[in-house]
Amino acid sequence: MTTATGIQSGVWLLVAIPALSAAVLLLAGKRADKWGPWLGGLITVPLFGYALALFFSVKGQHDREIDKHLFSWIPVAGFHVDAGMLLDPLSIIFILLITGVGGLIHIYAIGYLSHDEGARRFFGYFNLFVAAMLLLVLADSYLLLYVGWEGVGLTSYLLISYYYNRNSAATAGNKAFFANRVGDVGLSLAIMIMFAYFGRTDYAHLLFGNVQYTKGVAAAIGLMLLLGACGKSGQFPLQTWLPDAMEGPTPVSALIHAATMVTAGVYLIARSAAIFEASQATRTVVTIIGAITLLYGCIAGCGQDDLKRVLANSTVSQIGYMFLAVGLGKGVFAIGLIHLLGHGFFKAALFLSAGSVMHAMNDRIDMRRFGGLWRVMPITFAVFGCGYLAIIGFPFATGFWTKDKIIEAAFDKGGTSGYVLGICALLGAGITAFYMTRALVMTFLGEKRWEDDVHPHEAPRIMTWPMLALGALSLVGGWLLIAGGNVQKWLEPSVGPSIEVGAHTINKWVLVAITLVVVAMGVAGGWVAFGTRPVPVTPPMGVSPVTTLSRRNLFADAFNEAVLMRPGQWLTRALVFFDNRGVDGVVNGAAAGFGGGSARLRRMQNGFVRSYALSMLAGTIAVVAVLLAVRFQ
């Protein structure tokens, strides 16, 4: 680990600049309404330039772990909490993703929100998000990471509830906030365990030092970190907030709830590779959660009529793939991260084209009211098509390179567990192809089913250019990332070398063929079900139990309501009752005791100088008496 030199020493600017811009936008008030969105949107361009410069500067160095110590927060003998930033291959790919894809989405948002009166507020929050997210990935200790972690949670809440006068948006914001609180408790517990056992939380000591973790400590920290990761990344069992989070403006869905923030959980696990490496049990839990979630997301995605909810469920599912990958062990971390990057490209492309559709359809998002849009919105259709090909893993598009690698790694784990995980992943790929085909067909192909007052049109150029860029990246990005194993090699210092785990259970080419067949079956199923016959404009009733299951999100919300919310309410009521009668008795008693004592004692402070003098005299006698008593005891 070396210290930062040259342009690297300004790395804190990456956090400071968007934070400053957010402060300007939020504090300047109406004055900034005109130029505010432009400032907020374009501030990301120099940030991306700086991130690129940092990348090349680090690339040119032999030791690629660079620490920038900022200041000591609590420097007391034996107890140090410092604030610093770590530039290493892992954090660099994240800052490139956040400023790069984030920059494109910011520019898109300038167009998307051009008619919105609150655009300045939106960009204030958006820039604040970028600052918090960059702090999250650049922090060099878990404590500072936690600051960024809470920051992105806050901005996510603010942006989901951006249309705060809509009841659904306000509720969705609260839901996201509560689910995240559960996860955040996990992360904060993990940090407390670190303090308790090691007295510090910096990566240099915990991850890159030679700390010998006992299994118990590693499992405790790992599981708590995992709880935090599940909350932030919308993983089972804390996944239900993510589809609801689509109530926010579409750029928010694209940036925060697809490309960056929800991948923070994957980052956390990849960053903590050393801790997860020490506990096999925890890694198994990670893979199981990944497998459950990827299937859950796929199945829930099949029954939605809201285009953005389909994409949200697919995000849940794709992050499930990433969890599966990082849970498989050290050799597969890099694959999971590459899928994360690729997913950042194609999911952003999909969301931005969905936003473009919404923009054209008077903010309506029901796919049953779309259809035949490819004629009027060719660019949007093309971009969505690129994203579609990428996510289903069409040969040579991004998903083909990145997702299929995860399926391969799951099979290669070996044993029964390898087969179970592999088949889950394979099945997921098939269902993904099915529901994405359904979405594509219902939105862009077939008859037009618009209402009469809708006049769809292509979006302005400030929106289409970023979309096209992301569409192109969805097609070729995967190949760029995987070609020559460059990214894997680049990530080696952070997450270890990419090695093939175990022997190939199934021949690589056979597996590719099987995957393609499964995907083709999914596509065909989707086409047969939705492309060959007219789509009803209202959801049909009396459907199969599977469809109902899917429409109701596998009853996850109902489950939460019945198992957590209702008993929670009863528990709360019971606790309130108990609290009023029992605890309050004690607490209020204590408070009343203090208060009453205070009121009674107050009489001593009666304003008469003679009483004060008397109390001083009494005090003096006491002091003399105690000193003599101590001396002559």
Binding site: W73, I74, F594, V626, L627, V630
Partner: protein, 536 residues
């Protein structure tokens, strides 16, 4: 200064030699005293219309110059403790050491802020200081003066004299000199307490109370010195230290003397059970004067306690520790409990300062395993004093801008809903109160953390009590915050006056320091660590 020479002359030396003096090291004191004398001359010769500007200029220039010269001194090797005969500071009467300089620097910077508050002229007709203190309250002359906007400027030289006393007080190695410094700092404060422009009777009552009780405490202090002289045959802290270790006399005199000395010092620092003057005096005094007393006097008094206990009585620490324990507990408990039922913000802050004094005393009890006081304790006390001073000064200063027809609106109910009228005032007050409650990212948290950390090993139970009382005290700080943000504003509520440049500077500086020391405390913590050294 002639008093000092005669003290030196009283020492049993065959021939009287003129003591050598390192004038440079005492420059801050000379600057402040000189400026005070210039201030008196200004009163005599400068026409009334221009006096205010001139006095403010003289005061600020002197205090800033003194602060700078203190800063310039801090890197020099100053003290040459031996041989004592050739000691450059009035034969060892003064000890300009690192800790002394840190405390002097703190006092001077805080005094600059207090002077800026005193120079406020925008929020009220004239200034917060009464035009003529000698006029009978309520007489026609008094009413005419109150409406006229005439200002009184004697308060500036008075303040400079008090500051000079405060600068000498914590560096005195000689108890008689310390007593003189105590009086030099106290007498102007008694006067200043009675100079409020509004609520003059309350202010005069405060002044009389402060004077009577202060005289009472001084008498104890002086009697303590007499007893110690009887024991050690000297009033020099160093000689008392040696005598305590070597003397074969009965040490009743030593302990009774120490006890009475402590009473005088604890009184000045506003520590229970010698705190009873604090709420009444803080409430009655003009607010800038209250801010000055709460910040600077407390720092000076703690500096003196540090010196007396660590230089004169470090070998008897086993014997005085129980007293300090008891006083710390009493102060924290009294401050927290009494604060709960107060309805006047000025009184709440007064009780808060009593509780803080208790927290600072906890830092005194940090010691090594064998009971000798250690460096961490001194460091924590120095740092806490600094953070406390800035936060308290700004908090009192802020009270000046919330006003109604009768002057400052300090009743709690008048502050309800303040955030809607003035988000800035409410936000600043919130930051300051959170700092007093010890919430992270404010200086108060770091200060408390360092004190508790230092004292944990040698005074664990005390730290537990301190944590409990700070939780109780948090209630009344947060109650103000809740009132400001979540209560409906009263119908005929107070108005927010726009403060003048000087108050604005002082308040901004205090708030910025409060936040900055919460986020980047390192340089100042290191500075306090380096300063944690007393010449014995």
């Amino acid at each position: 200064m002639s008093a000092l020479v005669s003290v030196a002359a009283a020492a049993p030396v065959p021939t009287i030699t003129t003591p050598s003096v390192a004038y440079l090291a005492l420059l801050p004191i000379f600057i402040v005293l000189g400026a005070a004398l210039v201030g008196v001359l200004v009163e005599a010769v400068v026409p009334r219309t221009e006096r205010f500007a001139v006095q403010v200029g003289v005061t600020l220039t002197a205090l800033v110059a003194a602060a700078i010269s203190t800063g310039a001194l801090h890197n020099k090797t100053l003290t040459t403790p031996s041989p004592r005969g050739s000691d450059p500071f009035f034969r060892g009467s003064l000890a300009v050491d690192k800790a002394g300089l840190f405390i002097q620097g703190t006092i001077l910077v805080l005094a600059v802020m207090a002077a800026l508050l005193l120079a406020e002229r925008s929020v009220d007709v004239g200034s917060p200081i009464v035009a003529s203190s000698a006029t009978v309250v309520g007489s026609p002359e008094d009413k005419r003066l109150a409406a006229s906007g005439r200002v009184q400027t004697e308060v500036f030289p008075l303040m400079l004299f008090a500051v000079a006393g405060m600068l000498i007080f914590p560096i005195s190695n000689n108890l008689l000199l310390m007593f003189v410094a105590l009086e030099v700092l106290s007498l102007p404060l008694y006067l200043m307490a009675g100079m409020s422009r509004r609520r003059r009777l309350l202010s005069q009552e405060a002044a009389v109370k402060y004077f009577l009780l202060g005289a009472f405490a001084s008498a104890f202090f002086l009697y303590g010195i007499a007893l110690l002289y009887g024991y050690a045959n000297s009033v020099d802290l160093h000689d008392i230290f040696i005598a305590a270790n070597t003397s074969t006399k009965s040490d009743v005199l030593l302990y009774v003397g120490l006890a009475l000395l402590l009473v005088g010092l604890l009184f000045k620092a506003g520590i229970a059970p010698f705190h009873s003057w604090t709420p009444d005096v803080y409430q009655g005094s003009p607010t800038p004067v209250t801010a000055f007393m709460a910040a600077c006097t407390k720092v000076a008094a703690f500096g003196a306690i540090l010196r007396v206990l660590y230089v004169g009585f470090s070998s008897t620490s086993h014997d005085w520790r129980p007293i300090v324990w008891a006083a710390a507990i009493a102060s924290m408990v009294v401050g927290a409990i009494f604060g709960l039922t107060q309805t006047d913000i000025k009184r709440i802050l007064a009780y808060s300062s009593i509780a803080h004094a208790g927290f600072i005393l906890v830092g005194f009890l940090a010691s090594t395993a064998d009971g000798t006081p250690n460096k961490d304790g001194i460091q924590s006390v120095l740092f806490y004093l600094l953070t406390y001073g800035f936060t308290t000064l700004a908090a009192f200063g802020l009270l000046m801008v919330v006003r109604d027809a009768d002057g400052e609106a300090t009743h709690l109910s008048q502050w309800s809903g303040l955030a809607r009228k003035s988000p800035v005032v409410a936000a600043v007050m919130t930051v300051l109160l959170l700092s007093m409650a010890g919430i992270p990212l404010t200086s108060g948290f770091i200060g408390k953390f360092i004190v508790f950390k230092a004292a944990w090993h040698s005074a664990g139970p005390l730290v537990v009590i301190a944590l409990v009382t700070s939780a109780v005290a948090a209630f009344f700080y947060l109650r103000i915050v809740v009132m400001m943000y979540f209560a409906e504003p009263p119908e005929h509520g107070p108005t927010i006056a726009i403060p003048g440049w000087s108050t604005t500077i002082a308040l901004t500086f205090g708030t910025v320091v409060t936040i900055a020391l919460g986020v980047f405390p390192q340089p100042i913590v290191d500075l306090a660590g380096k300063a944690a050294h007393l010449t014995t």
